[in-house]
């Protein structure tokens, strides 16, 4: 991936936006357990930041995906994982399939609002009994006249209590778990939709996460994305962007963590020298930075392939697996060098430590990434029937 002046200009716009409009408020939003998604997304939409790689005819910038990844990477500088995750849900998790497979009507009606920031989007895939095992979801949409009637429960839904629209994955007709799923855009103000209390999480405290209940929710069939029965495939494709976003988003997050720790360790004196002057400390930080740089190369490589319409499933899955593991290692190692301060709640590294634990779980757990990689390597045993 070769960065042009345009890439750098976009990066600077985002950086400035984060410094002025996001980072000063992160502590407040962490405490509140929620952030003002509508107000923030509107501001981002006004700058064109929510549709960088989305088609120009629906309000996007129409740039290639390399610009989007620069955006994702810069979001890693946000000092609250919940906020960057919420933005990623809007741009890279709940709208890629709509942009790619949705009808013109659907895109005019919904995608334009996601890009302008007028509306907040959520992706509703996981269920209480089906997290990484997407094929096992039970939520069902049954045809009735021109509508679908939806029943079921969705779990761990980011942005949900503030969302205007859900990109919902549910079962329609048929029994084959990979061919009976459909993707439907569901407005959250419909009769029959209700939410749980906000879920109390270990980290990502600024992000509202809840369970969503569907009780005979009626949606027009025209809200179907693409064709019926292709939902599982769409979601698997959509996951590619989610995983690239998530990986890119950890890079600067890890580097901030390393740099904050360098600053702290340089100041902090122990046994007559700075903590940083201990060989184990500066060597360890060098190892971690080396790994982050290697991961960045893998992400950029995957993005090059993605722009050239190659299947990047293998690279995106490897990147996500590596990111989930590396971010745990980086935040854990850095926290250690803060000593007792590292165990305190109001510490940038301890927040990153709590926030980043999710990466190995959400968006397909490490174990799912391993399964996909094995499949791509041709080593996954065939199912015995």
């Amino acid at each position: 991936m070769r960065l042009t002046e345009d890439h750098i200009a976009i990066r600077e716009t985002i950086a400035k936006f984060i410094d002025n409009e996001i980072n000063p408020y992160c502590d407040e939003w962490e405490k509140a357990g929620i952030f003002p998604a509508h107000a923030l997304f509107k501001k981002m939409g006004d700058l064109g930041l929510l549709g960088i790689a989305k088609p120009a005819e629906y309000g996007g910038m129409g740039l290639d995906y390399s610009y989007q990844i620069i955006f994702s990477e810069e979001l890693g500088r946000i000092r609250s994982g919940g906020v960057s995750m919420a933005i990623g849900v809007q741009t890279d998790m709940s709208t890629p399939a709509l942009a790619k497979h949705g009808s013109d009507e659907l895109k005019r009606k919904f995608l334009t609002k996601a890009i302008s920031g007028e509306a907040v989007f959520s992706i509703a895939v996981s269920e209480p009994h089906a997290g990484s095992d997407v094929a096992a979801i039970k939520t069902r949409a049954v045809k009735d006249g021109d509508d679908y009637i939806i029943n079921g429960t969705k779990m761990w839904i980011t942005n949900s209590t503030q969302a205007d629209y859900l990109c919902l994955l549910c079962n329609t007709e048929g029994d084959h778990p990979h061919k009976n799923k459909s993707m439907i855009i569901v407005p959250t103000n419909l009769k029959g939709i209700s939410f749980s209390e906000r879920l109390d999480k270990l980290g990502m405290r600024s992000s509202d996460t809840a369970q969503i209940f569907f009780d005979d929710v009626r949606v027009p069939q025209s809200n179907l994305v693409g064709v019926e029965g292709a939902g599982f495939i769409y979601q698997m494709q959509q996951f590619q962007e989610e995983r690239l976003y998530a990986t890119a988003g950890t890079l600067k997050n890890m580097e901030d963590c390393i740099n904050d720790t360098i600053d702290y360790a340089r100041e902090r004196q122990v046994f007559g020298q700075s903590v940083l002057d201990n060989q184990v400390v500066h060597f360890r930080l060098a190892e971690l930075q080396t790994e982050v740089s290697a991961l960045r190369a893998l992400v950029y490589d995957a993005v090059d392939g993605y722009i050239n319409n190659e299947d990047v499933t293998l690279k995106a899955s490897m990147a996500k697996l590596k990111a989930g593991r590396l971010v745990r290692e980086v935040t854990d190692s850095c926290l250690q060098y803060w000593g007792g301060n590292g165990f305190m709640w109001d510490n940038p590294v301890s927040r990153a430590y709590r926030d980043s634990r999710l990466l190995s779980i959400g968006g397909g757990a490490d174990e799912i990434m391993l399964g996909i990689i094995c499949k791509q390597m041709g080593t996954l045993p065939r199912k015995k029937h």
Binding site: A130, D200, G203, V270, F271, Y353, R357, E367
Partner: protein
């Protein structure tokens, strides 16, 4: 005789478990939210005979063999109640033993009986904002004034800082020599003028354990408040570290045992890809690895306990135990959380609490890095 002890021990363990199940677990989540336990819980623990139980009978204790203390640590940790287990260890295994092993007759009679009943909660104030593991850098001073000493300085990360009635303070008494030769310990009653409790610190884990900043502004104490010899504070500290680190090591192994047991139950229930995840090889192998790690550390810690009882536990060995068990506990907590998937990230699941509670075990009581320093010093001496 031995079988009698065994029977007594097993009875004691049952009592501890029953108490935790009935009196602790139903309220624990609320205390975690409150970020403190009710003060009278200390009295309840005392009434049960769960505080400083190895203190001799002449000071109100039960003179219980050390092995009873290990049962207490084990069960509170196994039940994922670190926010209680840790403060109890500070009170019983650290503070009470500092007094018992170094105190004057007057100090022992004054504090120990009340520490056994829970009427007096103990804390120890070593760490300062500028110094964690490096005790040489302590800045709190105690200046002689007639027959008294005047204490000034700030301490931080003090367990039991909100509830404590007495605190052992580490302070410099001689600024002309290195810290190791010019430091003393003082017992300060918390109603002393100039003693100020700071805020209850917000931590990433151990929420119900109150941890505070403390400050001392011209706190006047008599010379009789010195614990141990003047300027010999470091000898006292060095003498007591073994017990503290051993307690942490026992706690780590037990916490890991508890969370693994919970996780084994969970993976049998939770289904993915049409079967319980316990049937996935990855799950089974992870459990096998973690269980093996726990067992190896359990054997090591039990051996350390035996050596400690015999009086032959050396610094390098207990440092290895603290290093090995606490690092292992963190790996197990992380591995168990992963097997819980999205639920592991939700605070209502015990595994998420175990994960954040575990993290500090590698920091307090001497960080893993300090343990490595001590071990390597012994290897290269």
């Amino acid at each position: 005789m031995e079988s009698e002890l065994k029977a007594e021990l097993s009875l004691f363990r049952d009592n501890v478990i029953r108490f935790i199940d009935n009196e602790i677990i139903p309220h624990y989540e609320q205390w975690e939210r409150d970020e403190i336990i009710p003060r009278d819980l200390w009295n309840k623990l005392g009434a049960q005979g769960f505080l400083a139980l190895d203190i001799p009978e002449e000071y109100g204790g039960y003179a219980s063999p050390y092995i009873f203390t290990t049962v207490l640590i084990e069960e509170f940790q196994r039940k994922n109640c670190s926010s209680l287990g840790v403060p109890m260890t500070v009170h019983s295994d650290i503070v009470a033993h500092y007094v018992l092993n170094n105190g004057t007759e007057a100090q022992k009679s004054k504090y120990l009986p009340k520490m056994v009943t829970g009427e007096c909660v103990g804390a120890i104030a070593m760490t300062e904002p500028g110094t964690g593991s490096d005790l040489q850098g302590i800045r709190t001073t105690a200046k002689r004034d007639g027959d008294d000493y005047i204490l000034n300085g700030s301490k931080t990360f003090i367990t039991n800082g909100q509830h404590c009635d007495m605190v052992i303070v580490v302070a410099r008494t001689n600024l002309d020599t290195p810290g190791s030769k010019g430091t003393s310990l003082f017992i300060v009653d918390c109603d002393a003028e100039g003693f100020i409790r700071g805020r209850n610190l917000e931590k990433i884990g151990l929420h119900a354990s109150d941890t505070s900043e403390l400050s001392f502004q011209d706190v006047r104490v008599p010379a009789s408040a010195i614990l141990g010899e003047l300027d010999a504070g470091f000898f006292v500290l060095m003498g007591e570290l073994q017990r503290e680190r051993l307690s942490l090591a026992i706690g780590s192994v037990s916490a890991a045992e508890g969370i693994l047991a919970d996780t084994i139950a969970y993976v049998k229930e939770r289904e993915a890809f049409g079967k319980p995840i316990s049937q996935l090889q990855n799950t089974r192998f992870k459990l096998a690895e973690m269980s093996t790690e726990i067992r190896v550390n359990r054997a090591f810690v039990n051996d350390c306990v035996d050596q400690f009882i015999k009086g032959s536990l050396d610094v390098a060995t207990v440092s290895m135990a603290k290093l090995s068990t606490t690092e292992m506990q963190n790996r197990v907590a992380d591995g168990c959380l992963q097997l819980h998937g999205g639920y592991g990230y939700m605070r209502e699941y015990g595994v998420s609490r175990a994960y954040v509670d575990a993290r500090v075990q590698r920091i307090y009581g001497g960080t893993s890095e300090i343990m490595k320093e001590l071990i390597s010093r012994d290897l290269l001496k």
